[in-house]
Every structure is written in C-alpha cells, then in structure tokens.
C-alpha cells in the first residue's frame, strides 16, 4: 500500500520537474511510536513520534542496500516546518499536512488521536506531505526542509534563527485584518472564489460519504444475523440442513467483507481531504497577493498625497485637506523658512516613497509571476490527482461489486441445495 501511495502521489510527475530532491533521495515515514515526556510547562504528556527515513536513490540501485538514515519527528515539528515554508514562500501553494484531529468520522472510526488506525493514516499523510514538498520545483531545494529530513538535533533552533517568526507574526496580523483592495486582480479573485467553492463542496462530499459509509456498514453487518439463524435452523432440519449451514457461512463472509471495503474508502476520503486542505492553501496565496497589492496601493496612495502636499506648498494652494492646512489658514501661514524646511522634508519623503512604490511594485509583480506559475502547476496536479482518485474510487466500487457477486452466487448454490 505504501509503495502504491509513494508512486501515485510523489513521483508520478512530468519529467521537467524531475530536478528535484526526490530524484536524489528516497524519503519515507516508516513508523510511528508513542512517547511520554515533559512538555513546555513541565507536565507529563503522551505524544506520537514518526520515523523519517532517507536514503540516496543511487544506493538502492547499486544493490548494496545500505541502512537508511533516520530520525524521529513529532507532528508539531511538521507544523513548524510548514509554517516556515508558508512565510518564506507566500506565493506558493504549500502542500497541506494531514488533519490535526479526525473529522468527518463515521461511527466505526475513532476520533481519538491515539487510535492506531488514525495514527497509521496520519503516518501515510505525513509521508505524502514530505513527498509533495520534495517534488516541488521550488520547495524541494529549501535548506531548512533538507535539514528537517537529516538533522535530528538543533533543527528547531535553526528554523527560529531564520527570523521567520517575526515575518510570520506581522503577516498573520495583516492577513486577519480586513482590508479592501481598490483594483483587485481578477484572476486572483476568481482563484480565491474557486478555493471557497472547492472547500465547501469537498466538505459536503466528505460528510455525505461518511454518513453513507455508516449506513452501508449497517446493511452488511445485519446479514451476519442470517448466518446465525440459518445455522440454528439447520440444526432442526434433515434435508435442508447442509444447504442452510453453508449458506450461513457465506452470509457471515458477506458481513465481514464490509470492513475491508470501508477501509479502502477511507483512503479515497484521505485523498479528498488533502485537496480540501489544499483549497485552504490556495486561498492563502490569494489573500497574501491581496495583501501585497494592498501594501502597494497604500504606498502609492501615500506617495500621491505627499506629492500633492508638495504641490500645494509650492504653489500656495490648498487642495488637500490637512490639519496643518486648516490651522495655518486660521492662525496664519508659516514663515518662508518653515516652508522651505517642510518642502525639503517632503522631497525626501517623496523620494523614499517612490523607492518604496518601486519596491512594492516589483514585489507585487514578482509575487504575481511566481504565484501564477505555481497556481498553474497546482491546477495540473489537482486535475491529475483528483481524476486518479475518481478512477480509484470506481475501481473500489467494482471490486466491491465483484465480491458481492461472488458471495451471492455461492449463497445461491447453497440455497439450491436446501
């Protein structure tokens, strides 16, 4: 299963993207383990750690098969890595992590983070995350990512040393604040809208699917009762006994088969969930673009007003409203020396302002260019992956139907011997 996952998610990429970490290195999240330790406030806690194994690609082909390098990481470290990437590459659609808590559960699945099934699915999800990052044209060459995979100790400190947290905090504040962009880029607005829709529809699909899975489970399991009753009934019958008894066994098999069926469907649900979270990442890029746009507009606005102030000061006319202007009207104009000083200050500010606008403009253009490239890449990846997911869903349904045909044909044979 894991091999299949690796193939379908990480390495099945167009060849031009092969200049990637993944080409040089095999990465996997091999195991999960429970640990107990003291947390930040010195209290005992239980948590899970995941074993990351890496091995140079050539090593395997050489036939020596050396022991892979490995280190243990917990979920919070993955989160830290991702936050760093988000802040450092705001124009990229950063691959999402598997969900923190189990959502869209149906009754059989536990919502408990310690549940072995949940841990296993999370292990797969974390591996998938690493493979996605390692196959991204820009992210895969990041040094912090590389050391995440290779340096067990001191990695956290290295991350904090980059100072990304400061940027993170300010960006976060800005993102959460409401602001209005005067000239929104239509493409990004559409993308954001698409992100909203994708998130909404996948959530709905996951909810409906979970409920349907619950019901299907019930249908199959009730058939197990046939097995029990047939078996009891066969005890009081002479000629019918054998047929009933063997039919009963097939009913038991039918009831038991639903467990595998639904486990496979969980993988499909996980594939959908990844894109649910990807939708969020996409929206984040759009919002960050809005922010850069906004900052540019603010700088441009500021520059314009400063230029106007200079003009007014130079020509003596007051067009822009300013408190100074009003007070000077009321209390008389300033001295020529004061005016001179003010003009000089404004000139400096305008120079700085123009620099800022140029900077911001370049930033914006750079952002738009990089973001749009990555969005196109993301679109292709999404279309490919989701189509694959739909196909694998169909294959699952076919497998389920084939099992059903087999069981009921067997049961029919037994019944006809009744």
């Amino acid at each position: 299963m894991r091999e299949r996952e690796m193939q379908s998610r990480g390495t099945d990429m167009p060849t031009q993207e092969r200049k990637l970490l993944l080409k040089k290195m095999e990465i996997s999240v091999a195991e999960a383990e429970k640990r107990t330790g003291k947390n930040a406030v010195n209290m005992q806690e239980t948590y899970t750690v995941y074993l990351i194994e890496t091995r140079p690609v050539d090593a395997a082909s050489e036939g020596t098969n050396p022991v892979p390098d490995s280190l243990w990481r917990r979920y919070s470290e993955f989160e830290l890595l991702r936050n760093y990437l988000l802040v450092t590459y705001p124009f990229l659609v950063v691959p999402p992590l598997p969900e923190k808590r189990a959502e869209f559960v149906w009754h059989k699945l536990s919502a408990d983070n310690m549940d072995p099934d949940f841990v296993e699915r999370r292990r797969v999800g974390l591996e998938n995350f690493l493979l996605r990052v390692a196959s991204h044209p820009d992210l895969s060459s990041d040094k912090i990512f590389y050391s995440f995979l290779t340096e067990e100790n001191g990695w956290k400190e290295t991350v904090f040393e980059t100072g990304f947290q400061a940027k993170a905090d300010s960006r976060l504040k800005a993102l959460n604040a409401t602001f209005r962009v005067k000239n929104p880029d239509k493409r990004f607005a559409e993308m954001k809208h698409y992100g909203d829709e994708l998130q909404s529809v996948i959530s709905q699909l996951l909810r409906v699917r979970a409920r349907a899975a619950d019901r299907l489970y019930g249908v199959y399991k009730v058939h197990g009762n046939y097995g029990r009753v047939f078996s009891e009934w066969s005890a009081i019958e002479k000629e019918m006994g054998d047929g009933l008894q063997s039919a009963g066994h097939h009913m038991d098999a039918y009831a038991a088969s639903v467990d595998d069926i639904l486990e496979e469907e969980e993988h499909y649900a996980d594939q959908l969930k990844e894109y649910l979270f990807y939708a969020d990442a996409l929206r984040a890029v759009c919002r960050k673009h809005e922010l850069t746009q906004y900052e540019l507009e603010m700088a441009a606005q500021d520059l314009t007003s400063k230029k106007q102030q200079r003009e007014e000061l130079a020509t003596g006319t007051i067009r822009t409203f300013s408190l100074k202007g009003v007070t000077s009207k009321l209390f008389g104009q300033e001295t020529p020396e004061q005016r001179e000083a003010k003009l000089k200050m404004l000139e400096t500010q305008i120079e700085e302002g123009e620099e800022l606008v140029k900077e911001r403009n370049a930033e914006c253009e750079e952002f738009v260019k990089s973001a749009w490239v990555d969005i196109e890449r993301f679109k292709e990846q999404k279309d490919h992956d989701l189509r694959e997911a739909l196909i694998s869903y169909a294959i699952m349904q076919i497998s389920m139907c084939k099992k059903g045909i087999q069981v009921w044909n067997n049961a029919k044979e037994c019944f006809s011997k009744m």
Binding site: Y194, E197, L198, V201, I202, Q204, L205, V208, R209, R211, A212, D214, R215, L216, G218, V219, V222, H223, N225, Y226, V229, E232, W233, I236, E239, M240, G243, A247, K382, D383, H384, L386, R387, E388, L390, I391, Y393, A394, I395, Q397, I398, C401, K402, G404, I405, W408, N409, A411, K412, F415, S416, M418
Partner: protein
C-alpha cells in the same frame, strides 16, 4: 382391522398411564358385551373401497389418497388471482379480485371459469376447509391489514402484495390432494356472487359450531395424557421452526430498513459531485460522469430494496403464519385425543360402577323378587354403556383418522415448505447478484470512458 391400525398409532412406551394404551384389547375383553360390540360398529368403516372426499372414512384408505409428487403433467387445474378492482357501496368500499380457473376435471361443469371474489370470501373458504379437516394444514391467508406498517388498505403496494398472497393461497389449495376436491373450493371457484352468498349461509349452524368449540375447549382444559412421541417431536420442531422463521422475518425487515437509510444518504452523493463539476474545467466531465454513476447505482439500490419487500418478506411472513397454523393443528389433534381419552375413562368408570352395583344386587335380591327396581336400573345402565361405547368408537376413529391425516399432510407440508423457502432464497440471491452486476457495469463504463479519454490526451498510464 381397526385394531391393527390403532396399535401403530396409539402405542407408546409410556406404561405408567392410568388408561392402558392399547384400548382395543380392553374393549374386546368384556365378554358379555361382545355381541353388542360387533353390532354397534359402523359397518362403513370396514369397507375401504368407498371414498367420499368430504366424509371421514377408514384411515388406511385415506393414506392412499395422498399424492406426494405433483408432476406438471398431472396438474389438471390452474388458478390465477389478478385484476384487483375497487367497489364502492353506500356502506363500504372494498376490493375484489378476479379468480380465473382452467381445469380438465370432470366434476367441473365447464373447463374455464371467471369470478370475482373479495378477501372475506377467501376467509370463508379457509374457515370451511379448516372445519372439515381439523388436522390438515391449510396454507395461511395474508393478514387483514398491517397495522404497524401503517399501510392503508387501498395502497397500491399493499393490494399487489395481497393479490400475490391470495394467488399463492388458492394454488396451495388446488395442489392439495384433499382440499382441491372440496365442494366448497369448487363453489368458490365457479359460483356467481349471489350463489356463493346463499351457499355460505347453508354452512353448519353457528350453534353447532359453538357446540364443537365448547367441547373442544373442555377437552383442551383436560389435556392429553399420552401423546405419541412423534407428535411431541412435531410440536418441538414447530416451536423451533416458528422461532427461526420469525427471526428471519425480522432480520430481513431490518435489512430493508438499513438499506432504505443507506439509500437516503447515497441520494445526496450524486448531486454533490454534480455541484462540484460546475466549479471545474478539466475535472468537470469525470465529475459529472461519477455523479451519473452514483445516481444510477441509487436507482438499482432502490429496486433491490423493493424486491426484498415484494418477494422475500411476504413468503417469510406466510411461513410465520404457517407455524401458527401448525401449532393450532397440533392442538386440535391433541383435543381429539383428549376427547377420546376422556370418553375411554368415562366408559371404564361407568362399567366399574355397574359391576359394583350388580354384585350388591345379586347377593341381596336375586333369589327373592325377580325383576326388581334395581334390575331395571341395571338395564338402563346397560343402555347407557352401549351409547358410551358407540361414542367411544366414533372418538377412536376420529382420532385414528386425525393422526393419519396429520402425519401424511405433515410430510407433504414439509416438502412444500422446503420448496417454497428454497426458491424464495434462491430468488433473493439471484436478485442480489443481478444488482451487483448492474452496478458493476455502471462503474466499468465510467472506467472505460476515462480510459479512452485519458489515453487520447496522453495523460494517464493505465498499465
């Protein structure tokens, strides 16, 4: 002749009973009454060749009448129930069904008949057959109406389910070696409505029916003392069978409920995929395709649920009712035996009284007076005893007949039950296979469409 038959049926290993099991020996032992015994017997019993379907005759000849294999070639009567129609009168609204008969039997005036009958008429027929043959097994009728399912009497599905059940009922009667020759059955199939109504009124009076019931209750209260082992085994089987068939009925109904709930959820899946396709470009087509597949699977699931409800559940339900019928038949047989045992005991008591009295008499008065009041009393006792003996003989014959009838019909019933339930389950299995085959085809067509699509675009490698 009756002695040998009685030996087979009545003998049991239970020797602690107050009444000896081989009663025939006791009756014949009483020497003074030998001549009376011979004269009082019903002579038709010794004649095994005369056979009248609606009269009880010698058990031995009865057994020969049972045909266990109903070959298609020997089937000479075909009955169908269809075409339900609603009738509205001032007092009530009711449904009638068309009953068509095709037959080559000579006792029928013609070869084809078509009449209309309502549920009440079927009930009447069933009652008549049960009355005439208390220890034969009459196939159950569908119930009056299903209260817990909250089904209206005039709901289409209900009417169709009832029609099928009525059809099965009549066919079971037609296939039964005894019932199919019943006069009441013939009238049911052939008489015009007015004729049927007047025939119904001619049945044994209500009071006589009451009388039988009272006697039956009295006997039931007394209970049977020496039930033969095979009937006890039958009862145990019926108890167990009843439980199993009730369980199967419940399990099947639960499956239907769960599937309906599954269907409710599944119905929302298709539209969600369709909604999604509206936001997508490349993915729009596969998503719409999946939406269509899910919708088609929904339809198939709906049909499968309906099949279970329409075909398997009614048959299981019928056999739940059958189990009750079997219990009633066994009870009636027990009552007949209890009646016989009671009469046997009463006769023995009476005889013992007479013996005691006659001893007293002969000692005191025999030489003195000649014909004394006590002698008259003796004469009266003799008469009473003769009457009781006649009654007892009839009861004995009734029991013998009842036991043999039940045994033969029991074998027959088991075969029919096996056939019915086997074909019901085989049918269900076939339908399930068909359901999965249809869904399989739906998803395979999706795969096929994606395959040709993708290979055309050079996107996906399916190898």
């Amino acid at each position: 002749m009756s002695g040998s038959v009685v030996d087979n049926t009545v003998s049991s290993g239970n020797s602690s009973a107050a009444i000896p099991t081989d009663v025939s020996g006791q009756i014949l032992d009483l020497d003074e009454d030998d001549d009376l015994e011979v004269f009082s017997k019903d002579t038709t019993l010794t004649d095994g060749s005369s056979f009248n379907a609606s009269m009880q005759t010698s058990p031995a000849s009865m057994i020969n009448q049972y045909k266990f294999e109903e070959d298609a070639d020997t089937k000479d009567i075909f009955v169908t129930v269809d075409n339900p129609e609603s009738h509205v009168t001032a007092i009530e609204t009711y449904i009638t069904y068309r009953v068509m008969t095709k037959t080559t039997r000579s006792e029928f005036d013609s070869s084809e008949f078509e009449v209309r009958r309502r549920y009440q008429d079927f009930l009447w027929l069933k009652g008549r057959l049960e009355e005439a043959h208390p220890t034969l097994i009459v196939h159950p009728l569908p119930e009056k109406f299903v209260v817990k399912g909250m089904v209206e009497r005039f709901n289409e599905d209900f009417i169709e389910t009832r029609r099928r059940a009525l059809h099965r009922f009549l066919n079971k009667i037609a296939e039964h070696p005894i019932f199919s020759s019943s006069e009441d059955f013939k009238i049911f199939l052939t008489a015009a409505s007015g004729e049927l109504t007047s025939h119904k009124k001619q049945g044994p009076g209500f009071l006589s029916r009451m009388g039988d019931t009272v006697k039956a209750v009295a006997a039931a209260v007394r209970g049977v003392r020496n039930r033969p082992q095979e009937f006890t085994e039958m009862q145990e089987y019926v108890e167990a069978f009843s439980q199993k068939i009730i369980s199967l009925d419940k399990v099947t109904q639960r499956i239907v409920r769960e599937q309906k709930e599954y269907l409710e959820e599944l119905k929302e899946c298709g539209p969600t995929y369709a909604l999604w396709s509206q936001s997508e470009e490349e993915l729009a087509e596969p998503l719409k395709n999946v939406a269509g597949c899910v919708d088609r699977c929904c339809k198939e699931t709906e049909e499968q649920v309906k099949n279970l409800s329409d075909h398997l559940i009614p048959v299981l339900h019928e056999y739940v009712l059958c189990a009750d019928t079997l219990k009633a038949v066994l009870r009636r047989r027990d009552n007949i035996q209890a009646d016989f045992e009671a009469k046997t005991e009463a006769l023995a008591t009476k005889k013992a009284n007479r013996d005691t009295e006659s001893k007293v008499l002969s000692l005191a008065w025999a030489s003195l007076v000649g014909r004394s009041p006590e002698e008259v009393k003796q004469q009266k006792l003799k008469g009473e005893i003769k009457e009781m003996r006649d009654d007892l003989d009839k009861a004995e014959d009734r029991l013998e007949w009842a036991n043999n009838a039940l045994k033969s019909d029991w074998t027959r019933w088991q075969k029919v039950m096996r056939t019915d339930l086997r074909s019901a389950f085989v049918d269900t299995a076939e339908r399930n296979v068909s359901y999965y085959e249809k869904c399989l085809a739906v998803w395979e067509s999706f795969l096929h469409s994606q395959r040709t699509d993708a290979e055309g675009n050079g996107k996906v490698d399916f190898s």
